[in-house]
């Protein structure tokens, strides 16, 4: 039984100017991508050009500019009060862990994709397949969150009901993908980031200024507003207990370090130093949004009360989940700002969601076309076959995501958090142990990944599926979960707090109990930490191969 998702307070009608802005924004991404693509085709062989710290940092920021950051975050801060801050902390501070433990080392390992790393580090096609499967799952869940955002904001811009809205948006996404294969290119992403952060910050500044909340630093000035917002906005542990707060933040942090499309960003830079500095810049660019988002939430809650007369937290007439998810747009609407301006903010949200979804679909396509098909099924696959399989995957994924987004189980931010906890439980341990403990072997990795997948999947079945499947719902009864104690300590949103340490322990234990990996593999790990500079042309495997053979690889 599907319940149409509606943000009641949102002005739902077709608005021409915002619709035009949305198309202009998407078109600008495409045009810029095309211009870069054509310009580069001619100069394909110019070696020595590198991607700089700031450019890569902006691409990292763009990666994070999804519906979750743009919309969902403010929604969670508004609706869930202090618990919403767990998402701010979780989605930013994880980059420090990435920086000190993984970024530079991953750069030295080289390779192409996350399943590539797992398969080569652990000498196991099965591990590769598991990592590819996990990548697909992550892309799927993450995209459902984006689709929800698209659908809700699309109501404002296009006035359609939520379901046709989602179908339209997904079609646009898949079509956008077909036209612009250059989405992930760093320059492109730097431009996208700029456009999106301008749209978002413009919203915050103008709403703050026009309503008299703030002048030049809404990120700090909104503190004065907090007394008027009601206890629920800031009182600690009102919505979720301390354990869930910590579990959520922890899962988001380790998830950041386990997401396949995050780590891949470090393969493209010239050296580890650039990898490190671009990570720092990336965090800065992310913070530009994350500093301002709670301010927007505060403005939104206050304006909601002023406009609807009811407190946002009232049991009747309070802010619904859907309304919270679009509070960024709602705030601009309530502030009686001109339609074109609200449209600008809305367009930013749409563009962010579409670009993120497109990026995730490409990640999924590579997992199937390269890691599953070419590496495991048909090593003789031609480029053309790979393109076909990639495109097929994207279309399939698009359909699946659309259908799921008709009735998503949670808020935007929560859905995306599920994907993070999956990454944190399955992939993060493999990356961390693979890079920092040379005795992590194939058996340990396999055991760890299988266990991680089981933990996450059972958590979802336990807590989320009863809402969808009647029989399970009946079995779950009051608590809404099949096994209440499991749901309490291993909720899908915070599964990593328990899941990740368990997977670590199991991986280590199994690795200790089984034969050590070959010396070659250990040397690859050592190479990732060695201070010896590597040529940009080299992967860790290359360097190890050179040193053991005592010379450069023979030309054939």
């Amino acid at each position: 039984m599907t319940v149409p998702l509606q943000a009641e307070a949102l002005d739902i009608s077709f608005k021409l100017v915002p619709a035009i802005i949305v198309f202009l924004m998407m078109a600008s991404f495409l045009v810029i991508g095309y211009v870069f693509k054509v310009a580069d085709t001619e100069g394909m062989w110019v070696a020595g050009r590198g991607i700089g710290n700031i450019e890569n940092g902006m691409a990292i920021g763009a990666n994070w500019m999804s519906a979750a950051s743009y919309l969902g975050l403010a929604g969670l801060v508004a609706l869930s009060g202090f618990y919403g801050l767990a998402f701010i902390v979780g989605w930013t501070t994880g980059y420090f862990i990435l920086l000190i433990f993984l970024a530079a080392q991953m750069r030295r390992f080289g390779k192409y994709t996350a399943p590539d790393f797992v398969g080569d580090r652990f000498n196991s096609p099965t591990a590769r397949a598991l990592a590819a499967f996990t990548t697909l799952l992550i892309a799927y869940v993450y995209s459902v969150g984006q689709a929800r955002g698209m659908g809700l904001v699309g109501q404002y811009v296009f006035g359609l009901d939520i379901i046709p809205m989602i179908v339209v948006m997904m079609t646009i996404t898949v079509g956008y993908l077909a036209l612009s294969g250059m989405l992930g290119a760093t320059k492109n992403m730097a431009v996208q980031y700029t456009i999106l952060i301008v749209a978002f910050l413009a919203g915050v500044y103008v709403v703050g200024f026009s309503q008299g909340y703030s002048t030049i630093l809404p990120q700090i000035e909104y503190g004065a507003l907090m007394a008027d917002l009601g206890r629920e906005f800031s009182a600690p542990f009102v919505n979720q207990p301390f354990y869930i707060w910590i579990a959520t933040a922890f899962s988001l942090i380790v998830g950041t370090c386990g997401l396949p499309h995050v780590l891949v960003r470090f393969y493209t830079v010239r050296s580890e130093r650039v990898a490190r500095w671009s990570c720092v810049w990336g965090l800065f660019f992310i913070l530009l949004l994350y500093w301002a988002s709670p301010a927007m939430a505060a403005f939104g809650v206050d304006l909601f009360q002023a406009t609807t007369g009811a407190s946002a937290y009232a049991a009747e007439g309070g802010m619904s989940g859907a309304e919270g998810d679009v509070i960024v747009v709602l705030a601009a609407q309530f502030a009686n700002l001109p339609t074109w301006f609200v449209g600008l903010v809305a367009a930013g949200a749409m563009a962010a969601a579409i670009a993120t979804t497109a990026g995730l679909f490409i990640t999924a396509s590579s997992a199937v076309a390269h890691d599953i098909y070419t590496e495991l099924i048909n090593p003789e696959a031609t480029q053309r076959q790979q393109v076909l399989i990639g495109r097929g995957t994207i279309i399939g994924m698009g359909a699946l995501v659309t259908v799921t987004a008709f009735n998503p189980p949670a808020l935007i931010g929560e859905l995306v958090a599920y994907a993070f906890s999956l990454a944190g439980v399955v992939l993060f341990p493999m990356f961390f142990l693979g890079l920092w403990w040379e005795n992590t072997n194939r058996q340990g990795a396999l055991a760890g990944m299988v266990l991680g997948l089981l933990i996450w999947i059972t958590s979802i079945i336990n807590s989320v599926l009863p809402n969808y499947i009647g029989a399970l719902g009946a079995a779950a009864g009051e608590s809404g979960a099949l096994v209440p104690i499991y749901a309490q300590y291993v909720p899908p949103i915070g599964a990593a707090l328990i899941g990740t340490p368990v997977v670590f322990v199991v991986t280590i234990a199994v690795s200790l109990a089984t034969p050590e990996p070959p010396l070659e593999t250990k040397k690859m790990v050592r190479q990732c930490h060695s201070p010896e500079p590597m040529g940009q042309q080299e992967t860790a495997a290359d360097v190890v191969g050179d040193s053991t053979s005592g010379g450069t690889p023979a030309d054939d």
Partner: protein, 144 residues
């Protein structure tokens, strides 16, 4: 330090404190185990020192305020004088992420400093196999 013969270089360089450590250039990093808890080379020792210390600071900055709030809510939810935030809200929403950024900058600069100390330039392309006995310039590339 005497570095007269290749045979001498194979041996360790005598350190002022009486310990013996091979100089950085002579270490074949591919032969030394990487261990998070027991670094096997001077470089890794230095590196892990900053990793662990900044990690501890990070944990305090990120999880400290919220834990304090759970333990002593009355004290933590007082309103701040000028800014109007409840203290816990300020520390968590602004303090934690900004603290992480500051720590990130500090770590990365420190790491660059480490590179300088060991005479490493990641942006230079060097020959792949480290050759023992071939000392690069001894300016700052020698273990103190």
């Amino acid at each position: 330090m005497s570095r007269d013969t290749p045979a001498d270089r194979e041996e360790s360089t005598i350190q002022p404190d009486g310990g013996t450590e091979p100089a950085h250039e002579e270490i074949n990093y591919l032969d030394r185990e990487v261990n998070l808890l027991r670094p096997s080379t001077p470089f890794m020792r230095d590196h892990l020192k900053i990793i662990w210390s900044s990690f501890v600071l990070w944990a305090l900055v990120v999880f400290g305020p919220v834990t304090l709030t759970a333990l002593a809510p009355e004290m933590m939810t007082v309103q701040m004088p000028v800014l109007g935030f409840p203290l816990h809200y300020f520390l968590v929403s602004l303090g934690a992420p900004t603290g992480a950024l500051i720590l990130a900058i500090v770590y990365t600069r420190y790491r660059d400093g480490l590179d300088q100390k060991y005479g490493i330039d990641p942006d230079s392309v060097e020959s792949t196999a480290p050759e023992t006995g071939e000392a690069t310039a001894a300016d700052g590339g020698v273990e103190q």
